[in-house]
């Protein structure tokens, strides 16, 4: 895709890279050959975690704001689902119809995210990570202490998706397609957003906020709007998460899990929206099958080490590794392929994450 094709609006099937087609066919056909365990516990779960990490990727990769509170936002949506809808704990459970519950939960999460953004964007750079971490920890302790609204340590159980069109949506195959639709939808939205006027302005603000301010852009507003969009993504993911687990408790939104989301996004790569999903798949596979290799208890050690290695040696994550590998390969074949490499370069992949 050359840069002209990107903005002129012309689009044809020939522009689509064969790898994307293969991936799409694989994702759609996946339930036909995988077992229920692989569809639900691996497939759907990866997509949910990937979607939460996608909201972080959008903020961190395009906005330069590493927020550790994205899981907290998703968690609030999950809690709202249990509080406003139905649960089997006898606490709250206002019994709203499912569609209203979903809308209000997602909007509530998005507003919460906007609020976190409004609080944290007034400061620069490294403060964001501290403030959002403080928010995440404070929210965790709050829901654990509060029994009136959040049912304290136990949390809520028995939160179910509705039965619609005669399909029970928590069955593996329908649930997989539901998460796939949401994940692909938001992937496309983020991918499009990065090329929209708003996305380009956001990336420019990431690279040089002072210059953008001087050009007349409202830096703070752009950042807060980015938090709102990220909140919508995380909110939907939170709804799916509570349907997936059937329950939500302080453990769901613990600090260790919030950091797992950061690990997923960073290990996958923060430069492209596909990164979080790669990271999520790697994470879920590791979580399920590392038990065979090491003690279950030491799983965090493996995750921590993997994260540390990625941060130390490949700051762009798995995507960075892949790009490096591809570049090396291309470099060798350069004589044959001519300047194709230049034209195929993704314009967004040249962005930097560095703080200004």
């Amino acid at each position: 895709m050359d840069s002209r094709g990107l903005f002129s609006g012309s689009f044809s099937i020939k522009d689509v890279h064969p790898a994307i087609l293969i991936t799409a066919v694989f994702l759609v056909a996946y339930p036909s050959f995988a077992t229920d365990f692989f569809i639900f516990q691996i497939g759907a779960y990866s997509l949910i975690l990937g979607t939460i990490a996608l909201s972080l990727m959008m903020l961190a990769g395009y906005g330069g704001m590493v927020s550790l509170a994205q899981l907290t936002v998703a968690g609030l949506a999950a809690y709202l689902m249990a509080i406003l809808g139905d649960n089997s704990m006898g606490v709250m459970g206002l019994g709203w119809p499912w569609w209203l519950t979903v809308i209000v939960s997602v909007l509530g999460a998005a507003l919460f995210s906007t609020f976190i953004g409004a609080v944290s964007v007034r400061t620069e750079g490294i403060y964001t990570i501290m403030i959002t971490l403080a928010v995440a920890v404070a929210f965790f302790y709050f829901v654990r202490q509060n029994y009136v609204l959040f049912n304290g340590f136990t949390g809520f159980a028995g939160v179910e998706p509705p039965t619609l069109f005669g399909i029970y949506w928590r069955d593996p195959v329908p649930f997989y397609y539901l998460t796939l639709t949401v994940a692909v939808g938001f992937f496309g939205a983020v991918y499009y957003c990065a090329r929209s006027t708003f996305g380009l302005a956001l990336q420019a603000i990431r690279d040089n906020p002072r210059r953008m301010r001087a050009l007349g852009f409202n830096v703070t507003l752009h950042r807060i709007v980015a938090y709102f969009f990220a909140g919508v993504i995380a909110g939907f993911a939170g709804v799916l998460l509570v349907w997936f687990n059937g329950r939500v408790s302080p453990g769901t939104i613990g600090v260790d899990v919030a950091i797992d989301i950061l690990v997923i996004a960073v290990v996958g790569g923060l430069r492209h929206p596909v990164g979080p999903f790669l990271g999520a798949i790697a994470f879920v596979l590791l979580e399920n099958f590392a038990i065979d290799l090491i003690d279950r208890e030491r799983f965090n050690m493996v995750i921590g080490t993997a994260f540390l290695l990625v941060v130390l040696f490949s700051p762009d994550g798995l995507l960075g590794l892949w790009n490096r590998f591809r570049d090396k390969f291309r470099f060798r074949g350069n004589a044959l392929l001519g300047d194709e490499r230049v034209s195929k370069n993704d314009p967004t992949s040249t962005g930097s994450l560095e703080k200004n």
Partner: protein, 340 residues
């Protein structure tokens, strides 16, 4: 100090008066015998005085933890999110030493030195390689804290440990504060654990020590110069890397030191690392990153807020802490004492 106070009074006369009135009110509430209507409104006086003292001593503990955090950030722009792990590591090491030798003070000293050494290792092996990339440094500290938490869980398991400090540090003392006057006319005095008062004394001592170190010694002068302009300090012939290592050692050592103090005042268990990391974060966000006096003020505010929240509105205690943080960020994003 006197000049600083006079400056403050001259510049913010209104706030100085408000502050003075609040302090006077608190003193009055501590020493006067409460009339019935006040008891009705606020509960027993004993609860209030105990909560106040708990808040101040907890603030002292938070200051010990957060001062290291803010010192490291002030000079190196390194947000060390493994600071909570260092606190917990110090507590465990201190416990092992104190348990084996039976000497609590030895445990305290060894914890300081051991954690300071681990800080030096981190600075030399990792952070020096990625200077000027503070986001990556922060991510690395997150990775380290994940690994450290898991390693400590593997070694010391999930058990809760309790220090046994010397007897004269333990037990309770009677304060010269009257709780209630019985109908017989005899006054009942309030008792308070000695160790908590010791925590406060240590925090004050460390605070004064840091102030003297930073303001009255040559190395302190270098550190302050480094906070203002690292390149200029380096250009004037100071080995900045050595100063970094020293500051990192002191900051990490303070975390380990606080681990033993906090572990003795409360207890040692997995999960405490996150709790004290949160405390450090909120304290420095409120107080202002990189400022020692900010850490002291922030620690006092957060300690008090947490204890009063716990005593007077139990299930919403955390919200109070959080609200303070939000209000400070809205009014003064750089923190109460933050310069930049």
């Amino acid at each position: 100090m006197a000049r600083v106070m006079r400056n403050f009074v001259e510049r913010h006369t209104f706030w100085a008066i408000v502050l003075l009135l609040v302090v006077a009110l608190f003193l009055l509430m501590i020493f006067a015998v409460w009339p019935d209507w006040l008891v009705e409104a606020m509960g027993r006086k004993k609860t209030f005085v105990n909560t106040l003292l708990n808040g101040i001593t907890l603030g002292g503990l938070y200051f010990l933890v957060a001062s290291g955090f803010t010192l490291i950030f002030g000079l190196m722009r390194n947000v060390n999110l493994a600071h909570g792990s260092m606190y917990l590591l110090g507590a465990y090491i201190g416990y092992e030493v104190a348990d084996r030798t039976g000497n609590w003070f030895l445990g305290l000293a060894v914890a300081f030195v051991a954690v300071a050494l681990s800080g030096i290792l981190l600075q030399v092996l990792i952070f020096r390689r990625m200077a000027d990339d503070d986001l990556r440094q922060t991510l690395v500290t997150i990775g380290i804290s994940i690994i450290a938490a898991d390693a400590m869980l593997a070694i010391w398991t999930g058990t809760t440990y309790q220090f046994s400090p010397p007897d004269w540090l333990f037990g309770a003392t009677t304060l010269p504060v009257v709780s209630v006057v019985k109908s017989s006319g005899a006054a009942v005095y309030i008792k308070y654990p000695v160790f908590r008062l010791v925590v406060l004394a240590i925090a004050v001592a460390v605070g004064i020590g840091l102030w003297v170190f930073l303001n009255r010694t040559r190395i302190g002068m270098m550190i302050r110069a480094g906070v203002n302009d690292r390149e200029m300090l380096s250009a004037s012939g100071v080995n900045v890397q050595l100063v970094f290592v020293l500051v990192f050692a002191i900051g990490a050592g303070l975390a380990g030191f606080a681990g033993v103090i906090g572990g003795t005042a409360l207890s040692v268990a997995p999960g405490e690392d996150i709790r004290y990391l949160l405390a450090s974060l909120v304290v420095v966000i409120v107080g202002g990153l990189g400022s020692i006096s900010g850490a002291a003020i922030g620690a006092l505010i957060i300690g008090l807020a947490e204890q009063f929240g716990l005593a007077y509105f139990p299930t919403y205690g955390v919200v109070l802490t959080f609200l303070i943080m939000v209000v400070v960020l809205a009014v003064r994003p750089q923190g109460l004492m933050g310069g930049r």
